[in-house]
């Protein structure tokens, strides 16, 4: 067996419940982003661009979309004779059969996978952040410091520091202490959930801690390493990094792509983001369409007006329809004379004619006010919105809705329609 210097383990099993109906049927890493990508494309492409050719993707929650997307890894050049991408779901064992109960537990259950490559280092990534990072540079830092563990950390504004898990370092960037969401932060370096471990160190920690329930990197493995006198270093990262954990931050991160020169630039030649897309044909902008300040994916047909929006591939926007400040994901079809204001419409949704999304004043969402806020209308994938209805702000729609679901043709602000279950 050829040894690999470093392999990556990508944690992609989380639901991302704060994305509400967007993740009711898909794992968060498989949620669409930026017109043609899915969130997992960013860490995967970073791996390939950093020269890492062996990636284990740990899946658990609703993995179908993720599996189809990754396939054998062709779009990322991860279809390799040795290494490449491997999807690692939880599996049945002779003595016990358990789900992945925590981030570190998931890695522990795949010790054999990592051992088979005999790596020197293991890179732990999570599949739900938007950023570009050269892990090779981080590895160099790790080697230079003769570190056992290196944690990527980024400076955050001091006034927001108390919302993060912080690392406190000495002048050599060696970590002396951790603080989890402290009231009075002593540092502004926030951990990004990206770790490089010496495999021998991580392996020892995982095996020792294997009885720990819900074994987690931040809560158990890192503290264990520190208590046992391992050398922990913080690698400071100063580029763009976005956690798209809530509908608000997800919407914002998409909208930032529209800026004239976006902070996060997808148009860079030498750090391409790769993705798996079936649609390759150009988009059509009709004679009476308007497209201003927006990005639009392949194969879309625009007959209406689009302002300040991110439109996915294969989307149809009908005549006299106005879409503003919204995210429309791939293969969604929007009828004529529709007005959409500040909405997130997931994949393969059908919206009839004369619909208005995002009307009236925002009201607190009655189903889950912490998820559905920010004044957004959120529509889950494969939903149907009938013609002629109005939908208020802070609302959520999932499933095939009919006119009867909208009292007097209106879904007032703060209300939700969630039609779960299989439909015949």
């Amino acid at each position: 067996m050829i040894r690999k210097e470093m392999i990556a383990m990508l944690l992609a099993g989380g639901q991302g419940s704060r994305l509400g109906v967007l993740t009711s049927d898909v794992a968060k890493p498989a949620v669409a982003f930026g017109g043609k990508y899915r969130i997992i494309d960013f860490p995967l492409s970073n791996c390939v661009n950093s020269g890492i050719d062996t990636v284990g993707v740990l899946t658990q929650y609703q993995p179908l979309r993720l599996n189809t997307h990754i396939g054998i890894g062709i779009p990322w050049d991860l279809d390799r004779n040795h290494g490449g991408v491997t999807v690692l779901p939880p599996y049945e064992k002779s003595d016990n059969s358990e789900w992945y109960s925590g981030t570190a537990n998931a890695i522990y259950q795949n010790l054999n996978y990592i051992d088979s490559y005999q790596p020197e280092y293991v890179l732990i990534l999570s599949g739900d952040h938007i950023y570009k990072m050269n892990y090779e540079v981080m590895l160099d830092f790790h080697k230079e410091n003769n570190a056992d563990v290196t944690i990527a950390a980024m400076p955050v504004p001091w006034e927001e520091a108390s919302r993060f898990g912080l690392v406190i370092t000495d002048e050599n960037k060696q970590i002396t202490e951790f603080e989890e969401k402290p009231a009075n932060p002593r540092s502004n370096l926030a951990s990004m959930g990206i770790y490089i471990f010496n495999w021998s160190v991580l392996r020892e920690a995982l095996v020792t801690m294997s009885e720990q329930s819900n074994c987690d990197f931040g809560k158990h493995i890192i503290p264990y390493c520190r208590e046992n006198g391992r050398r922990l270093f913080a690698y400071e990262y100063n580029g763009y990094w976005k956690d798209v954990g809530t509908l608000g931050s997800y919407w914002e991160a998409n909208m930032e792509l529209i800026d004239l020169i976006p902070e996060f630039n997808l148009y860079e030649e030498y750090w391409k983001i790769y993705t798996n897309s079936d649609t390759i044909e150009p988009q059509y902008i009709s004679a009476d369409a308007v497209t201003e300040r927006c990005i639009i994916g392949e194969g879309s047909e625009i007959y209406g007006q689009v302002y300040g929006s991110v439109i996915g591939a294969g989307v149809v926007i009908g005549k006299n329809t106005v879409v503003r400040d919204s995210i429309i994901m791939q293969d969604t079809v929007i009828g004529d004379n529709v007005t959409i204001d500040k909405a997130i419409v997931a994949e393969n949704v059908s919206i009839g004619n004369n619909v208005e999304l995002g009307v009236g004043e925002p009201a607190e969402n009655k189903l889950n006010k912490s998820v559905y806020s920010f004044g957004l209308v959120t529509i889950g994938e494969n939903s149907v919105v009938p013609s002629g209805v109005k939908v208020g702000k802070n609302t959520a729609i999932a499933g095939k809705t009919t006119k009867e679901d909208y009292p007097e043709g209106l879904l007032a602000g703060g209300e939700s329609i969630i039609k779960a279950g299989d439909i015949l």
Partner: protein, 371 residues
């Protein structure tokens, strides 16, 4: 599948003007995101043909680059796959391919070592969708020796650059004239043929003995009365792109919804994927009735045009009735009308290009400064 495929992609045509300086016609970008050969290749793949040879000769760098991996058309297989045959010097031959028949003859081992009973021969410079199995069924039903796919062109179209055929009521071809001065009919050969593999080997070897090298003139036309040659009509969209006018027209056809839908519906046309970000429209962009491909950034007016991948349009430009090929940078205040702009061009700011009543091929050699 009972057939193997051969795609003839070696040709050049002076009527492509400067456009063919850079590449073989089969490698011409078409419809915003394809290369011309993608149509024949995807048709082969979608017809479940497993073994396909592409014969190249003229200026094949761009074409070879496009075909560097066969997986995009699903030809990355252990059984069969995609074969690219460039002319090579051998102990008994130091010539280039002297014609289409010669090109096949020089790779006759490929034909002899295959076991499929039939061969589908297609040219790489046509834009169409076709299930070759239908033609093969027709071929077997008619007990034909050779079947030629034919297309009825509009009456007003000048067909003198094609092979013109006349069929009888049984679809048998009774007349075949290559590039006639005055055409006797408006039915033309679409450059797609079905023939039994052993029959093809025999005909190629016999022509070689007589020093004849062209498949159309030396085989089809000579054997016209001796062999049973039938015509299968293609009723759907078909176009050949090997003149500047027809290349322009074929691309403009993709602005029509029915043409776009026809090519977008299953079975799909595959191409090499470029990993470009979605197209971006900044303030000032005013795009009307146009096709825009991935990686484009637009800051001004574009009308009735086809923008290929990664085109940058600066501020206050007007682009009208034009085709802008891949990776073109257009500086501010530039006016382009009735033009085809060659790929990787850099058009300076404040310039004016117009094709007048015709179509102008714009071919600039400016340096591009990338920050």
């Amino acid at each position: 599948m009972k057939a193997l495929g051969i795609i003839l992609a070696g040709g050049n045509n002076s009527r492509m003007q400067e456009l063919s300086n850079k590449r073989a016609i089969a490698a011409m970008p078409v419809g915003g995101s394809y290369r011309c050969i993608d149509f024949a290749l995807s048709n082969m793949s979608n017809s479940h043909i497993q073994r396909v040879a592409v014969l190249t000769q003229y200026n094949a760098r761009s074409l070879n680059e496009h075909l560097s991996s066969s997986k995009w058309w699903d030809f990355g297989r252990k059984q069969g796959g995609l074969y690219v045959f460039n002319p090579t010097v051998t102990s008994d031959n130091a010539w280039w391919y002297r014609g289409t028949a010669d090109a096949m003859l020089r790779n006759i081992d490929f034909l002899k070592r295959s076991h499929e009973p039939y061969v589908i021969i297609a040219s790489g410079d046509c834009v169409y969708k076709m299930d070759y199995n239908k033609v093969l069924e027709f071929h077997i039903e008619k007990k034909a020796d050779i079947t030629i796919v034919c297309k009825d062109m509009p009456m007003e179209e000048d067909v003198s650059r094609f092979g013109v055929v006349r069929m009888n009521e049984d679809s048998r071809i009774v007349e075949f004239e290559e590039k006639p001065m005055i055409a006797q009919s408006n039915t033309i050969s679409a450059g797609i043929y079905v023939i039994r593999r052993r029959q093809l080997i025999e005909m190629l070897e016999r022509s070689a003995e007589e020093n004849r090298y062209d498949f159309v003139n030396d085989i089809l036309i000579r054997y016209k009365n001796m062999k049973r040659i039938y015509g299968y009509k293609i009723e759907e969209y078909w176009n050949n792109i090997s003149t500047v006018e027809s290349y322009y027209q074929t691309n403009m056809d993709f602005l029509k919804p029915e043409v776009r839908k026809y090519f977008r519906d299953e079975p799909k046309i595959y191409s090499k994927v470029d990993d470009l970000p979605p197209a971006k429209y900044n303030v000032g962009s005013d795009v009307r009735n146009s096709l825009v491909s991935s990686g484009c950034i637009i800051n001004s007016k574009v009308e009735n045009s086809v923008l290929f991948k990664k085109v940058f349009v600066g501020k206050n430009c007007v682009i009208k009735n034009s085709i802008i090929l891949n990776d073109v940078y257009i500086g501010d205040n530039t006016h382009i009308e009735n033009c085809i702009v060659e790929s990787r061009d850099t058009l300076r700011a404040n310039t004016f290009f117009s094709g007048g009543d015709g179509i102008k091929v714009v071919f600039e050699h400016n340096e591009r400064y990338v920050i």
